[in-house]
């Protein structure tokens, strides 16, 4: 075996989450109250299309979460040595992208670098010009004449490949009448884009390169995992706090309410960035002080990411809690709650059966809006210098890196656009999907769609 799997803390959490979701689905597979809304979401056009896009993102994130280290060539007489560089399955799949590193910036599909360099010409004279890229379009003898035919040929093949693949997938379903048209068209889009990228990306830098010459497409794909992690893990920290404290404050009132209100007003009165910065710095110092706990740079970066999620979660639950407190204050006076109390239904059951389902729409909306906010917060924090590890690839670091270059003439736009595009599609899909879920969970919305 020439590699060894590595389980980072965040990988472990992701696997645990997956296991919980899978177990939940398995247990609830015969439960009609669970299945009916799910079926409704997947049967709707918007629901199925956005679910597919989200699945693609989650797939990329999962592939990027299977980490390993490579085994170094054996030296006789010594135990097996492993490389210090942790890679993921996604890295392996994207090897050409990862390894095609240029010197510095190059525009999308460029064949030449973005900056002039002094070179020695064939006739021995020194000249300043844009040098050819080492990898982007390197196979072209004369870029001026061969560029377009080559791109069109490769692109056409890629599109064709995507369509053939799509036809193979969809046709059997279509014959059984089970293919959903919106789903099929979205799948076509996804496959055509994938085909294009597969055909072009190994030969060109489709989204350009960054300051140190890394392929921006590679960076964007790697950022997906960081973005999803920050969104999901932070939400997992926020949810129990916000839900539990918010509903408890609203339902129990009195002293409980006083304490919880005191907690969140205090938290809210401290400037958020300051609080986060302080907490991140404390964590950072702790990490530096215990180097023996982390055997690789990746493990350290990972721990810092987890700490960031935890801190964002601990400071971010107040908005949700306040919203839920207000809603619960209203709901607890409603007569169905009074009726349940008259039955002697236990408090926990009233909270779980009567209050929680009736605030879920608020939770869903808030969580999705927060999700996009969190991905952006990561960018802001990276700018202040307290975000994820600078070595970690994330949308925040990409935006942060692109920030200074916006003032440059001609402008370096592709890094920002790539980050924007990937985040936009993710956040939009998540928002639309959440809308569908909310409608499906609302019994009154039935038949309106």
């Amino acid at each position: 075996m020439n590699f060894k799997p590595v389980l980072l803390w965040s990988d472990a959490l992701i696997l645990l989450l997956l296991a919980v979701v899978a177990a939940g689905v398995w247990l609830l597979r015969h439960n009609e109250t669970f299945r009916a809304p799910l079926r409704q979401v997947l049967a709707s056009r918007m629901g199925s299309a956005t679910a597919l896009i989200l699945a693609v993102y989650v797939g990329i994130g999962l592939l990027d979460s299977l980490h390993y280290v490579e085994r170094l060539p054996d030296e006789p007489g010594k135990a097996a040595q492993y490389s210090g560089e942790v890679k993921s399955v996604l890295d392996k799949l994207l090897t050409p992208l990862r390894e095609h590193v240029e010197k510095t910036y190059s525009a999308p599909f460029a064949t030449h670098l973005y900056a002039k360099e002094t070179m020695t010409g064939p006739d021995g004279r020194e000249l300043r010009d844009y040098p050819r890229l080492k990898h982007g379009g390197a196979h072209l003898a004369d870029p001026d004449t061969e560029f377009w035919p080559d791109v069109l040929k490769r692109g056409g093949l890629g599109v064709l490949g995507g369509m053939v693949f799509w036809a193979l997938l969809v046709f059997p379903l279509w014959k059984r009448g089970r293919a959903h048209s919106a789903l099929a068209w979205t799948l076509l889009c996804v496959l055509v884009v994938t085909g294009l990228l597969v055909a072009l990306a190994p030969h060109y830098h489709v989204l350009g390169t960054d300051k140190v010459g890394q392929d921006v497409l590679y960076l964007s794909l790697k950022s997906v995992r960081t973005g999803l992690l920050i969104g999901t893990l932070t939400t997992l920290v926020v949810l129990p706090l916000g839900l539990g404290l918010g509903i408890a404050a609203g339902y129990f009132g009195g002293r409980v309410d006083d304490v919880i209100q005191y907690l969140y007003t205090t938290l809210n009165s401290i400037p958020g960035v300051l609080l986060i910065a302080a907490a991140v710095l404390v964590v950072q110092v702790q990490i530096e002080a215990h180097p023996e706990l982390f055997d690789t740079a990746a493990a350290r970066a990972d721990m810092r990411l987890l700490a960031l999620c935890g801190i964002l979660g601990l400071t971010g639950w107040t908005g949700l809690a306040r919203l839920l407190r207000a809603e619960t204050l209203k709901l607890r006076e409603l007569e169905f709650v009074q009726a349940a109390r008259a039955f002697g239904v236990s408090r926990m059951r009233i909270l779980a059966r009567h209050l929680l389902p009736n605030v879920m729409h608020l939770v869903l909306i808030t969580v999705v809006i927060d999700f996009s906010g969190l991905v952006l917060a990561e960018a802001v924090l990276s700018y202040v210098g307290v975000g994820v590890d600078p070595a970690m690839i994330s949308f925040g670091n990409m935006i942060n890196g692109a920030r200074l270059e916006l003032a440059r003439e001609p402008v370096v736009w592709w890094q920002l656009v790539a980050a924007f595009l990937f985040m936009f599609v993710l956040v939009l899909a998540a928002n639309l999907f959440a809308d569908q879920v909310r409608d499906a969970l609302d019994p009154k919305a039935k038949g309106r769609a």
């Binding site: 009726a339 002697g344 009154k444």
Partner: protein, 634 residues
């Protein structure tokens, strides 16, 4: 032509897809000067839509597709919107049901009236203020209320302020959409008197929209007034109130009278009106009422009935009215001729007239010592809410919501608690159930005190008394299926039942309250108000209680649905020997159902006794006032 005339009005609302709702379909009527027309009907019959169409305030998607409305010769539908703005609130004004929401909470009364004066009469400054003061006096409010904000006014005062606002434009016709439905009965009487008075002093036409037969009669006493009964978007009967109330000609109107609960119908089953109002997108081939009519015959399904004049000025949209003599409906379970005549102009309370119909438990006195033990005994119960002020939230005083109440309910007996809003009756109910902790006093259930009980002991007591709330829309969790709602109480209080036992019992209960068994799998919003109230009753019955606390169980329902619920309650009382603590502000319902009555005001019981005694020989002044305020008793 003088006043307002409406001809062949048809309103359509575009629904989802190609669906088209027609809430108003071919309505004709006129409102002359100093005339009152009462538009009477149950919810969903199109009466509010008619009013909104007249004001050109139809909701989005709604439009007038046919018809003409003339106000003193001006065609309202032909006016430009800018000109209509001058008519609306000016020559044609409208007051709404909810005085709470029809006044802007951040503007004083003077400012709000001033707005109307500026818009319609060009008055401003001191002149506007002086005129606003005169208007307030006209509606019976002191002028020092000019600078009051809506939250400083009571419900009745708010409705007066709203009327003053509407009078600012000196309307020729005033539309009043359920003007007193949200008010207490004593305040209702005052507002109705005010409207009558204003109408005759100003020579104003009044279009009164109401669901209450007594209010409609109260307001249409003069001979040229008319009552229009609406059903499914049409006027089915049009008559002077004397003629209508003496002898209703349309079977629907007859049914409306027959389902009314009254003291003199005690022990009788109320007549019921099966089925429900047809959906507003239904297509009719014949009479719209044919599905529910007790006197239906073949022609009704195929031929649309004409609007026949059965007596001078008395029209009915019924084939039977053609012959100008209405046959008795008794073979079909309707009213006999005698009963129709028995609906008098004045409700005579003669409980002893028919001894066979006296109530089940002739329990006259207040206490029943020596007889069977009480199901519920409340003594000296008080609920005081502390008023906290300041940073440290010190208690500076108490709101005495319930202040020393003693009551007893015997097995199988119905005790009615009557009072106006804010008198503490709902707080009392919740304190009895220990949903609110009482401040002092004791509640005994079958002789055992509930005070201090916790956990299992309290739970076992909870199974013996249950509550049904007023609003069937907020009393059922919208996110739970009906079956789960019914089973929740059983799961908490009847641990001996397993899952299948509970499901079985839920099906039984649904059957008992007259709902289909497949209802268990559906969500509450799929049911109508009356059906939801049945679900709430089934939920309460699920744990075999001996005492049901009914907190205004029918006041959110239409009269025909109310009759069904009252019948159901009477049946359940007979079958299960249930005792009821019936909380209500509606005296006719109380008179129909209650064995004994307790009158409550400001947290105290003023008077209690048998229903017959309270209704016929009230001793307390307040009780007398309540009884006299009920419309239709003048």
């Amino acid at each position: 032509m003088n006043g307002l005339s409406v001809e062949n009005l048809r309103v359509e609302i575009a629904g989802a897809g190609d669906r088209r709702f027609v809430p108003v379909d071919g309505v004709d009527f006129t409102v002359g000067a100093d005339q009152c027309v009462a538009l009477l009907g149950e919810s969903g019959c199109g009466k509010s839509m008619t009013a909104l169409a007249l004001m050109r305030l139809l909701p989005e998607g709604g439009r007038v597709t046919a018809g003409e409305v003339n106000l003193q010769g001006d065609d309202l539908f032909a006016l430009a919107e800018s000109a209509m703005g001058g008519v609306r609130g000016g020559r044609l004004a409208m007051i709404f049901q909810e005085p709470q929401t029809s006044l802007n909470p951040v503007m004083s009364v003077a400012e709000q009236i001033g707005e109307a004066l500026a818009a319609h009469r060009g008055l401003a400054g001191a002149a506007a203020r002086a005129e606003a003061g005169r208007l307030l006096e006209a509606v019976g409010l002191p002028t020092d209320r000019l600078d009051a904000y809506p939250f400083q006014l009571s419900g009745g005062q708010r409705q007066r302020a709203l009327i003053a606002m509407m009078l600012a434009g000196e309307p020729e016709v005033l539309i009043a959409d359920e003007p007193t439905t949200a008010l207490d009965v004593t305040v209702q009487a005052q507002i109705l008197d005010l409207l009558k008075d204003l109408r005759s002093r100003r020579g104003m036409g009044l279009l009164l929209i109401t669901h209450d037969l007594d209010v409609a009669r109260e307001m249409t006493l003069s001979p040229n007034d008319r009552v229009a009964v609406m059903y499914a978007g049409q006027i089915v009967e049009w008559a002077p109130s004397a003629g209508l109330y003496a002898a209703p000609r349309h079977p629907y109107t007859q049914k409306l009278f027959a389902v009314l609960p009254r003291l003199d119908r005690r022990g009788e089953r109320l007549d019921s009106l099966p089925g429900k109002v047809p959906a507003p997108d239904a297509v009719f081939s014949g009479c719209r009422f044919a599905e529910r009519c007790p006197a239906v015959f073949a022609r009704c399904h195929t031929q649309i009935p004409g609007f026949h004049e059965v007596a001078p000025g008395h029209f009915a949209r019924c084939h039977l009215a053609e012959a100008a003599a209405i046959p008795p409906l008794s073979p079909y379970g309707g009213l006999s001729k005698g009963e129709i005549e028995g609906i008098p102009g004045r409700v005579e309370v003669v409980a002893a007239a028919n001894p066979t119909q006296t109530p089940i438990s002739p329990n006259g006195g207040f206490t029943n010592e020596g007889s069977e033990p009480s199901v519920l005994e409340i003594s000296d119960l008080a609920v005081h809410f502390p008023i906290r002020k300041g940073l440290l939230k010190r208690t500076v005083g108490h709101v005495k919501a319930v202040d020393g109440v003693s009551l007893a309910v015997a097995a199988g007996e119905t005790l009615a608690l009557v009072g106006e809003s804010g008198c503490g009756k709902t707080t009392l109910a919740r304190a009895v159930l220990r949903l609110i902790e009482p401040s002092s006093g004791t509640v005994r259930l079958f002789g055992e005190s509930l005070a201090g009980l916790t956990g299992e002991a309290l739970r076992s007591k909870r199974a013996q008394m249950q509550i049904v709330f007023q609003d069937p829309f907020s009393s059922l969790n919208p996110r739970m299926r009906v079956g789960d709602i019914l089973e929740e109480g059983m799961a908490a209080l009847l641990p001996e039942l397993d899952k299948s036992g509970r499901t079985h019992r839920a099906a039984e209960l649904l059957d008992q309250v007259g709902l289909p068994t497949d209802a268990a799998g559906r969500y509450p919003h799929e049911f109508s108000g009356g059906q939801r109230q049945r679900i709430a009753i089934a939920r309460a019955l699920a744990v075999n209680p001996k005492l049901l606390i009914l907190d205004e169980p029918t006041s959110a329902l239409d009269v025909s649905v109310q009759a069904q619920i009252l019948n159901l309650l009477a049946d359940l009382r007979r079958e299960h020997g249930l005792a009821y603590l019936f909380i209500s502000h509606n005296l006719s319902v109380v008179g129909y159902l209650a064995d004994r009555v307790a009158v409550m005001r400001e947290g105290r019981i003023l008077e209690s006794g048998s229903a017959e005694q309270i209704f016929n020989r009230p001793e307390n002044d307040y009780t007398r006032l309540l009884l006299d305020s009920a419309p239709g008793r003048h």
